[in-house]
């Protein structure tokens, strides 16, 4: 069959002239009076080629990528497309890859920036193949700014400005207000209780690493808690699930004991590492809770499914429990099993709340204005979209 011959050539060294050579006799014979049935047969077995092949640089990337698009072959029995590439100055067409019949684009991710390439697309079917005209020459290039991240850049700029502005103002105006956060008001009471009962305080700074900002927020609270346990002379237990967090937690606690004037009360065994395996850590902390029976448990930082395992065991031992996390999925479990829970952002407001440092309080004010801005923006965009039918979603 003719169409088979068209696609027969090894696509790795596929010369553009092939189709002309083979197609010419077909039209030749058609024009010169071939019996009609044969002509129909020939035409139906011929696969219409893809058309309008275009190649252009992929924007907002690190270069090396060229996007190839085409209009599909109108034939319905296409099983896929083969994409071929020619480098300027070379006669060779190399095969780049294969796409399914429904996809009419292909990203060449192996281009050399600045080198011109041409592309053509080969439609394949059970009966054979047919190929398109080559595209115009295209070059790939790298960009210095990803325009897709423009909204994030603007957002970062605005929020950073608000934050720094209020931090700066707080340095002058020291009378900043912060609303009550009941979980944090309870810290002193809870620690007092541990002292009275002569039992320990357990502080779990989450199971995540330093790259989780919740861990850092937790370590700030640990600093304040450790100052109080140093003052009260309550034993403190801080098990860790990440070695780096363990190192920092140790420094933080040591510093707090020094600041509280009790460096002698600090010992190396207050802060220790257990394991970085989630459930092994939960098993160990459950064991500590059940054996040492701490009077107060702090579960603050990043938690996963082990949240309720820890919180329920703590509740069973009769401890007062203060939890805090920004892991939205775990909040329901802390809420049900703990006495106090710092919900989401309250965790981040905690270090400002406990220390009352003007700079930190200023940052809280900046965050509040940022939230108001977001809400205002959403309402405004909704208004514009509903009243004026402006396609707001397209802007970002």
């Amino acid at each position: 069959m003719l169409s088979l011959e068209i696609g027969h050539a090894d696509s790795d060294r596929y010369l553009r002239d092939n189709d002309k050579i083979i197609l010419t006799p077909v039209f030749f014979r058609l024009n010169f009076g071939v019996p009609i049935p044969l002509a129909v047969l020939l035409l139906t077995t011929l696969l219409a080629p893809p058309a309008d092949v275009r190649a252009r640089d992929v924007p907002n990337d690190e270069g090396k990528n060229i996007m190839v698009t085409w209009s599909p072959s109108p034939d319905t029995d296409v099983t896929g497309y083969l994409v071929l590439r020619q480098t300027q100055g070379s006669e060779i067409w190399e095969t780049l890859g294969f796409t399914g019949p429904l996809v009419h684009r292909f990203v060449d991710d192996g281009a050399v920036d600045g080198t011109p390439y041409a592309y053509k697309v080969l439609a394949q079917s059970q009966a054979g193949t047919s190929e398109s005209e080559p595209s115009a020459w295209a070059k790939s290039s790298a960009q210095w700014f990803d325009t897709g991240t423009l909204p994030a850049l603007i957002g970062t700029g605005i929020f950073a400005f608000l934050l720094l502005y209020f931090i700066n103002r707080a340095k002058k105006d020291k009378s900043l207000f912060i609303r009550r956060i009941s979980g944090l008001d309870a810290v002193e009471e809870a620690l007092g209780r541990a002292t009275e009962m002569g039992r320990a305080t357990l502080y779990v700074p989450g199971l995540s690493t330093m790259s989780d900002v919740a861990t850092i927020a937790s370590l700030n609270i640990l600093g304040e808690v450790a100052k109080k346990t140093a003052q009260f002379g309550t034993p403190l237990i801080v098990p860790n699930a990440d070695p780096i967090v363990y190192t920092v937690a140790r420094e933080v606690v040591k510093e707090s004991y020094t600041a509280a004037g009790r460096p002698d009360a600090f010992n190396e065994d207050i802060v220790f590492f257990v394991t970085d395996q989630q459930f092994a850590f939960a098993a160990a902390v459950d064991g500590i809770m059940a054996r040492e029976k701490p009077a107060t448990n702090f579960l603050i930082g990043m938690f996963w499914a082990e949240s309720l395992i820890l919180a329920e065991t703590g509740a069973a031992t009769g401890a007062i429990q203060i939890a805090g996390t920004d892991a939205v999925a775990q909040l329901p479990f802390f809420i049900t099993a703990c006495d106090y829970t710092l919900i989401g952002e309250e965790l981040y407001a905690a270090s400002a709340y406990l220390s009352r440092e003007p700079i930190l309080l200023g940052a809280i004010k900046g965050q509040d204005y940022s939230k108001a801005l977001i809400i205002g923006f959403i309402i405004l965009a909704t208004g514009l979209a509903l009243v004026a039918n402006i396609p707001v979603l397209r802007f970002f």
């Binding site: 991240t149 909204p151 994030a152 850049l153 957002g155 970062t156 929020f159 207000f177 912060i178 609303r179 956060i181 690493t209 330093m210 790259s211 900002v213 850092i216 780096i244 190192t247 920092v248 257990v274 394991t275 970085d276 395996q277 459930f279 092994a280 098993a283 160990a284 064991g287 059940a290 054996r291 999925a329 909040l331 329901p332 809420i335 049900t336 989401g344 952002e345 309250e346 407001a349 309080l361 809280i364 004010k365 965050q367 509040d368 939230k371 108001a372 977001i374 809400i375 923006f377 959403i378 309402i379 965009a381 909704t382 979209a385 509903l386 039918n389 396609p391 707001v392 979603l393 970002f396």
Partner: protein, 209 residues
């Protein structure tokens, strides 16, 4: 009924029961399983970090004379050990600073882009939201719920007047959301227990087949 003869199945079964015994109370059996678990977890972590991280990213390239600058990275990592040498123990802050700096920096635009902007976009109501009237009403409820919930997290203003009422509405939304998440998770957790029981009753004891 056919009890398993595979020693590993027996070990797994005994450890499983050891953990379950904690439900009754803390006891030597649980204590044994717990201490064993912590030990093996650390042993496995050492294995994993060595074979899957250090060998492919550090040892292999460097021993083949490639990426020799990785030695400097290894030295920076080794600064962790200065913690045990009082005079230079501050050097431990250097690897921490590198990890902390990079990860916090990287989290800034991602927090804005992936969460804030995407979620804000999803909350905006357009005419398309009203393609069917029900979906439109739900979109309005979501918008009101978001506003109310956010208002609960205003820290620098006193919670009185309109803000108090709004943030109370926020608490209502939060509580419904938490209750729903809780109820929704029950089935998955029971499934886990069923899985353990099926192991004990089927693979180990052969009571059910």
């Amino acid at each position: 009924m056919s009890i398993s003869t595979d020693p590993w199945v027996w070990i797994a079964a005994i450890l499983t029961l050891g953990i379950f015994s904690f439900l009754y109370k803390e006891n030597p059996f649980y204590r044994f399983a717990e201490h064993l678990y912590v030990g093996i977890a650390n042993g496995y972590a050492i294995t994993f970090y060595w074979h899957r991280v250090l060998v492919p990213t550090l040892v292999d390239p460097v021993s083949h004379g490639q990426k020799l600058w990785l030695i400097i990275v290894a030295i920076i990592g080794a600064l962790y050990f200065t913690r045990f040498i009082p005079k230079v123990s501050w050097l431990v802050r250097i690897p921490i600073a590198i990890v902390l700096g990079y990860s916090t920096g990287a989290s800034i635009p991602r927090a804005i882009d992936a969460e804030l902007i995407r979620q804000a976009k999803a909350t905006i109501i357009t005419r398309a939201s009203f393609a069917n009237w029900q979906a439109g009403i739900w979109a309005v409820i979501i918008l009101l719920g978001v506003i109310a919930t956010v208002s609960y997290f205003f820290f620098s203003a006193e919670q009185k007047g309109a803000l108090r009422r709004l943030s109370y509405a926020g608490i209502i939304f939060i509580m419904i959301g938490f209750g729903a998440s809780f109820g929704y998770t029950v089935m998955a957790r029971i499934s886990l227990f069923i899985g353990r029981l099926q192991f004990l009753l089927s693979d180990w004891l052969g009571l059910i087949k």
